[in-house]
Every structure is written in structure tokens, then in C-alpha cells.
Amino acid sequence: MKQEQAIIREHRAFGCGYRLLVFDCQPIAAAALPGQFVHLRVPGLDGSVLRRPFSIYRADGACLSILYKQVGKGTREMAALPVGQAVSLLGPLGNGFPMPTGQAVPVLVAGGYGVAPLCLLASRMATTGILFVGGRTAADILCIEDFERLGWDVCVATEDGSLGTKGRVTDALDPWLAERCRQAAPPPVFYCCGPDGLLRAIDVRAVKGGWLGWLSLDKHMGCGVGACLACVQRVRVKDGGSQWKRVCKEGPVFEAGEIFWDYGVKADNA
């Protein structure tokens, strides 16, 4: 983990309202593993005390890239950052995705720009696999050419049917999984990044099928380094109990079956 003043080398629209930020930041880029993140201090964001976490989209040699969309005042301020500007980055933070072993076929599942860390993951894998990516509309589908260039199969699902299968990403995934089961093909190993609903859907499928799965959580963070205990997630432990884990430190990647999704949720008696 390092704190660096990273210089913006490239900053441009990435299509569909997303933007690409490329930093010159060798110390963090060289150490970055797929699934890790950087904690970025948005310059000029007056009145703000917290950094903003971003998945690492690319890390090659001296450069490190992130993707973001303007959703709040932080990302709005980021959109104005000029090339050449220095930005404070902490990173690489958290634990990345473990690489697949044995015969398992990597099945990457992304919702929206949850695809960003999966791009880095696919580029570092020794084998190819398949990507399932979903979004509300075709405009939410990013980066599929990155996977195609690496020789990966890509399956798209959009809720409005404007690209690929009409429906949710699981509507594309489930028939594919069923077919593989019929053929007794090697087992999948899931790598998922996206909203909680998607993570949970993949979690259920991995556990039910007895397959390995890795889920990357997105939580509001404070310090990003494990000190403040703001971003905790309840997880099950071996003895049958449960405990808090810090998404920034023990995560953001958790194993399927580990997450206690409904911990503390009160039964609705209304």
C-alpha cells in the first residue's frame, strides 16, 4: 500500500456517460492485482473529507486506469480534472481475485461498470473463459471489445433488449449453465462485480451448484485502509457463527457462500 501523487496522463469520455482516467503511477500500477482498488482524493472538492474508491481497470507498466461515471459531486468535480494534474492515490488496496485452478472455467459476471476490474482480471488470466455482462440498456454495456480481443466469449443482456438477451444477466447465464451441466463440462468458477442484487444472485447459484465463486463488493468507505470500520460486511465463519469483515481490507473480494446478506435485517411484520 502506497500513497502517491499520480499525474493524469489521459482523461476522456469512454462512451455512454463513462469516463476513463489514466494516471502515471508506477509504484501502484506495478503492484496492482485484479480486484484491488485505489482510494482517490478528488482535488478541489471543498468541504469533502473522504476519498473515493475506484476499481482498477488497467495496470500496465507505469500506468493505472480507472473508469467512472458522474453520479455525485465527487465524480462531477473529477470530470473537470485536466491532463497533467496531480492526484493523490492510495493503493493498491484490498485483496484481489484468486486465479482459477485446475479445470475450472472462469465465468465472469458483471453489472454495469462492475466490468472494469474484470477486464484487468481477464487480461491476467492464463486461460480464457466467458463474460456475462448486463445493464439496463445497451449504453450501460462497456468494455466487451477488451474481452473479445483476449479471445473470450461474451454474452450481453439488457433489460430493454437493446443489446443481447432481453432481461437480466442471469437470464443469459442460467441457460448456459444448464447446458454445461447437461454436457458434464468442467465446472465454472465465478468472478462477479456489480450491484448487491447481482452478487447475491451469483452467490446463490455458486453455492447451489457447489461451485467456487468470488464476489467483489462495493461499499461506502471511510479510510480505505481498515482503520475506521465503516465499510464492514457480515460474513459467516467456519464455526457456524458470523463476524464483521472490512470490505476495504479483508475484501472487496469475498468467497461465495461467505456473505451473510440478511444479517440484522428485521422481519417485516407490517
Binding site: Q3, L50, R51, H220, G226, A227, C228, L229, W244
Partner: protein, 314 residues
């Protein structure tokens, strides 16, 4: 002298002694904002700190609150972590061996839910190698007295401080609650009950509401406000406390740079702590130390202790 930010032979004196704890400079970490030390060790030279104050510890491990536990607001953040922690044994087992590698004094922040528990925690740390002192968080509800915070009732505050005082020989720093009408009276009570120093301010009571859902953002509903937005209030509270006591004061609240730290000292603090700003920039604590040194040089001052209470009244 060890550590990157300690005084040189020719530079102004930076060392201070608070409650019998000798520090190489007057800049500490604020409890709850720096973990237990290892979290920031890759980013900050722990040997450069004046003292390291760890996150609050009670007798047993404590789960804290449900998330969401923190929300950013204009000028700061509101947290309701709920004092999640490893308990005394967990801290001594999992963190203290790491902290003993450093020459920086380690101050444990302690809390309890009853008078008795406060005494137990204090006693448990008495004589433990590697602990330089205790910071006593009295802003917790007394579960035996209807949940009234110890630190908002003069009698309960006096009782809990006395109990801890009787339970330990360690230097005792009482961290006052800002949620009172007269912080001076509580400062005086802390001194009379045997505190060696006081620290202030703790976070301010706060509530953040999501106007779309009309629900509170934090699962605990209420939280504590920290960050630059509370700084001027902290300076006033330190001033008020300084008028009431003779024991040293550790000032904190919204310090982001040396100027904020120096303000607290001019108002009467002998040392300061950096809190929320460590989240913004982990190196803040180091830049505050360096900035105070530079200020002393610029103002021809020979020793940082000259700053304490040196505000010039109009």
C-alpha cells in the same frame, strides 16, 4: 532522538510531557481515526508521532452498529461505528506486540457500559508492557442509569473517573463530552477526580436524513460529527476548559493542518490530535508536525510549549 520529525539540535524544542507521558512532539492521533496502528504503518512513520491513541477498547469484544455506519456531510462526516473492537485480550494479543516495536507512546482509549466495567478495563491495562497511558472515553451511556452518558452528568462523570483512577497507576487522560452546557465544569470535575490531563472535543451529536426516503442515513439513526466543520467549536471548548483547570489539555476537533493545531494550542492545549483528516490524507499528522516546527522558526520561538495558552486578547 529517533523518528523523522523529531527536533534537531538547532531547531525549536518540540518535546512535551502530558500526564507524565513524554512525547517527542505534541501531535497525536485521535482515537478511532487511526485504527490500532498497523493500518497506517505502510503510509506513516509511526516513530514520528508524538503519541498513538488507539481505537476505543472495552473489556470484551464488541460488535458495534449495523452499517451504514458513516456518511460524509459538508465539512466533515457523521459516524456511528458503535465502538466495534477486539476487547482488552484481543488488543493485547493481536495489536500490542506490533506496537511495542515502536518508540512512540501508545495510549489506549477505554470505555465501558457500567462503572464496574470501566474499572475492570483500566485495571486490565495496569502494568501491561507497552501501554503509556489511558484515555478515558466518558461519552458512553451508563446502561445501569437509563442510558445517560457518564460524561454529561457531573456526578456520574466524577464517579467513573474516580473508579478508573483507583484501578490504575497509568497516566489518566479523560476525554470530555462536548454535549454539555459548561465544559469548564466538567473539565474541573475531571481534574478533581484525579485525571492527569483532559482531552477534547469528542464528536458532536448529529443526524443525517435522506430526504428522498425520509429515513435516517445511519442505521443507528444518530451519529457523531467530526471534521473541519467542528474546528472553531473545538477551539472555543479548549479555551473554556483551559480557564477551568491546571492539568494539561489535549485539543482536537477538525485539525487538518498546522494552523488548526496551533490554534488549539494558543487556546490552551499542550498537545493536539489529528482525527478525521487522517482519512482524507494519512500524512496529515506528519505535515502538522512539520508545519508547527516551521511556524516556531518563522515566529522566532524556541519551544513548542510557548504556544500553550498564548492567545493574545484584543
Amino acid at each position: 532522538m529517533s523518528g523523522g520529525a523529531s527536533l534537531s539540535v538547532t531547531g525549536p524544542g518540540m518535546a512535551v510531557e502530558i500526564a507524565g507521558i513524554r512525547m517527542r512532539n505534541p501531535v497525536m492521533t485521535a482515537s478511532g481515526t487511526f485504527g490500532y496502528g498497523p493500518e497506517y504503518a505502510d503510509l506513516v512513520d509511526l516513530n514520528a508521532l508524538g503519541a498513538l491513541v488507539v481505537k476505543g477498547i472495552r473489556m470484551e469484544p464488541w460488535e458495534g452498529n449495523q452499517p451504514p455506519r458513516m456518511v460524509e456531510v459538508q465539512g466533515g462526516l457523521v459516524n456511528a461505528i458503535g465502538l466495534q473492537g477486539p476487547g482488552v485480550d484481543g488488543f493485547v494479543r493481536d495489536y500490542l506486540p506490533f506496537l511495542r516495536q515502536f518508540s512512540t507512546p501508545v495510549i489506549v482509549n477505554i470505555w465501558g457500559r457500567t462503572l464496574e466495567e470501566y474499572g475492570e478495563v483500566a485495571a486490565a491495562f495496569d502494568g501491561v508492557d507497552g501501554i503509556a497511558g489511558i484515555e478515558l472515553n466518558i461519552s458512553c451511556p451508563n446502561v445501569k442509569e437509563g442510558g445517560i452518558a457518564f460524561g454529561t452528568d457531573l456526578q456520574m462523570a466524577s464517579q467513573v473517573i474516580s473508579r478508573v483512577r483507583q484501578s490504575t497507576r497509568l497516566p489518566l487522560i479523560t476525554k470530555l463530552s462536548p454535549n454539555v452546557s459548561s465544559v469548564g465544569r466538567f473539565a474541573r470535575t475531571a481534574q478533581d477526580a484525579g485525571s492527569d490531563a483532559i482531552s477534547l472535543i469528542n464528536t458532536l451529536p448529529a443526524l443525517v436524513i435522506d430526504v428522498e426516503t425520509r429515513r435516517p442515513v445511519l442505521s443507528n439513526v444518530f451519529g457523531g460529527l467530526s471534521g473541519p466543520g467542528i474546528h472553531a467549536f473545538a477551539v472555543r471548548q479548549v479555551w473554556d476548559a483551559a480557564q477551568a483547570v491546571t492539568i494539561p489539555i489535549i485539543g482536537m476537533g477538525g485539525v487538518t493542518d498546522a494552523q488548526g493545531a496551533i490554534e488549539l494550542m494558543l487556546a490552551g492545549a499542550s498537545a493536539v490530535a489529528v482525527g478525521t483528516a487522517s482519512f482524507t490524507d494519512p500524512s496529515t499528522v506528519i505535515s502538522v508536525i512539520e508545519g508547527i516546527q516551521a511556524y516556531l522558526v518563522r515566529h522566532g520561538m524556541r519551544d513548542v510549549r510557548e504556544l500553550t495558552g498564548a492567545m493574545v486578547r484584543k
